[in-house]
């Protein structure tokens, strides 16, 4: 008897028991930033603990950016690791008067570009065929990709009801009046939320521009 009989799960059981795997906890940056010098200063001074704080603050953003741009989990993990080790290596070139976000975004952009360059080399040597299929569809790390991740991150920080209003207005393209009715809010209030929400989106884009 071959062992192959053991794996052959009934697909329907598989479906029923599809578990929630791989849910990583959100990094909490609460409690770290208190009573200390600004992260930027501590990091520039080469304080190792500041590196951990920097990671907590930006890991989700960097990893998301790598996932969206590279569309490959292992590559995204490796790239994220590289971003932070590069940040550590080049911390002396960091200007503490600038936001860490822009600096990290710049490093991420370069790391992603490196991955694409490497893939291109690999593709030239690899056999053409199905192997190339999935990765070929991956978008280039354009500014648009960065923008898309930045606004989602910023949206998450907005909180209700603004995040929902912005989402309905621009991701689902609903008329403002419909949104007002759905959320049982005066139209003017919805518009105010949109003004403020868009301003926050704009500011986060500006912070992440390098």
């Amino acid at each position: 008897m071959r062992t192959t009989s053991l794996w052959s799960l009934n697909p329907s059981t598989e479906q029923a028991s599809a578990p929630a795997a791989g849910t990583a906890p959100l990094p909490s940056d609460e409690g770290d930033a208190l009573d200390q010098q600004p992260l930027a200063t501590r990091f520039a001074a080469g304080e190792p603990a500041a590196m951990h704080d920097l990671y907590q603050q930006h890991a989700s953003f960097v990893f998301s950016l790598c996932m969206v741009a590279l569309r490959h989990r292992q590559d995204a993990e490796d790239a994220t690791q590289q971003v932070f080790t590069r940040a550590w290596r080049s911390r002396e070139s960091y200007d503490p008067s600038q936001p860490t976000g822009a600096w990290i975004t710049g490093i991420t952009r370069r790391v992603i570009a490196d991955v694409f360059a490497r893939r291109e080399r690999d593709q030239q040597t690899a056999e053409a065929g199905a192997d190339v299929m999935v990765r070929n569809g991956a978008t280039r790390p354009t500014d648009a990709v960065i923008d898309r991740v930045v606004v989602q991150q910023s949206l998450r920080q907005l909180g209700p009801p603004q995040d929902e209003i912005i989402r309905l207005a621009y991701s689902e393209d609903l008329p403002l009046r419909t949104i007002a009715e759905r959320l049982e809010m005066p139209l003017g209030t919805v518009k105010s939320h949109v003004h403020r929400g868009l301003a926050r989106m704009r500011e986060s884009l500006e912070v992440h521009s390098d």
Binding site: T3, A18, P27, P48, H52, M133, R202
Partner: protein, 323 residues
């Protein structure tokens, strides 16, 4: 919502456009008081935007802000999924940074292993790290995968695991493989097989990769799926799984993801996404492979949901090589 809209750069009295101006310019819907009725009122409002547009052509900062607002709206049209990095990623980074710090300090390699992220840990993580090996609860730390084992720790941790009651004295796939092969081989043969493999575990890894297991991936949800998987132990002691998908349906709006799981599909560890052809994954250090004896290739969609989609294209149990 009780907060006032903070005016941009003070207010429009300094001549610059406010958040509201910018939003209305970027999205005219926001300026319309009544989209259907009262065209006269709309008319009256259109004068101001023309003044504002003129300002835009003259004022660099306002133009940049306007362009950023448009970028934000454009970026919102195509929502990107946010992903949380795996918990153990920080440990990998900390280990690498610790190694960099040692290089730059010019110190020789630490006897505790090159991967040891000692000084770059936050204080939260430090106490456990400072405990002697014997005092640590290796069991607790394995499932979360953190902190990551240094190379020199792996061996002892594996042996520690070998001693526990719940698990047979192997870190590989014996429970499943033995259950399947038992009818043919019998208990004694299995024991012999295990004994035969032990020296490889006790000795430090030599300068070769060792094949520690392989699997034939048989189709589950997809009929036209064939593939195989092979796990090797590298020179550095890391486990690597190479999954070769030789035939598979087009993933269309999705991708393949590779998992290690138990036979029931209730315990899963994601190794990452795979392409048709061969993809190699690093298997998390410290994993108890007897708990995750099955290699599973699923079809996932770009939905940002990190869990298994429930669609297993193909799967197969890992077996000892030549068993």
């Amino acid at each position: 919502m009780t907060e006032q809209i903070p005016p941009r750069n003070g207010s429009s009295s300094d001549g610059h456009l406010t958040d509201e101006h910018l939003a209305i310019l970027a999205d005219p819907r926001l300026g319309r008081t009544e989209p259907t009725a009262e065209p006269a009122a709309g008319q009256a409002h259109q004068l101001r935007p023309s003044v504002q547009r003129e300002h835009l052509t003259l004022c660099g900062p306002c133009r940049a802000a306007f362009e950023a607002t448009e970028r934000a709206m454009e970026a919102l049209r195509d929502p990107a999924a946010l992903h949380e990095p795996p918990a153990e990623l920080w440990d990998r980074i900390a280990a690498e940074i610790a190694a960099i710090s040692e290089e730059t300090r010019g110190a020789g390699p630490s006897p505790s292993g090159r991967g040891r992220p000692a000084e770059d840990r936050s204080d939260r993580d430090r106490p456990a790290e400072d405990l002697p090996m014997e005092d640590r609860s290796g069991e607790d730390r394995l499932d979360g995968g953190r902190p990551m084992a240094s190379v020199s720790e792996l061996g002892s941790r594996r042996r520690r695991r070998a001693g526990t009651a719940e698990h047979p004295p192997r870190r590989l796939w014996v429970p499943l493989a033995a259950a399947a092969a038992g009818a043919v081989l019998g208990g004694a043969a299995v024991a012999a097989l295990l004994a035969q493999n032990d020296p490889a575990e006790v000795q430090p890894p030599v300068a070769v990769t060792t094949v520690v297991g392989d699997a034939t991936l048989e189709p589950v949800a997809a009929e036209d799926f064939t593939g195989r998987a092979e796990m090797v132990e590298t020179e550095a002691g890391d486990l690597e799984l190479t999954v070769e998908i030789s035939a598979a349906p087009d993933p269309e709006a999705g991708y393949f993801e590779v998992w290690l799981r138990d036979a029931e599909g209730t315990q899963l560890i994601s190794l990452g996404s795979a392409t048709a052809g061969a993809t190699t994954f690093t298997v998390p250090a410290g994993i108890d492979l007897s708990q995750y004896p099955v290699v599973d290739v699923s079809h996932e969609h770009f939905d940002g949901d990190p869990s298994h989609s429930g669609t297993t294209l193909g799967a197969g149990p890992m077996e000892e090589p030549d068993s």
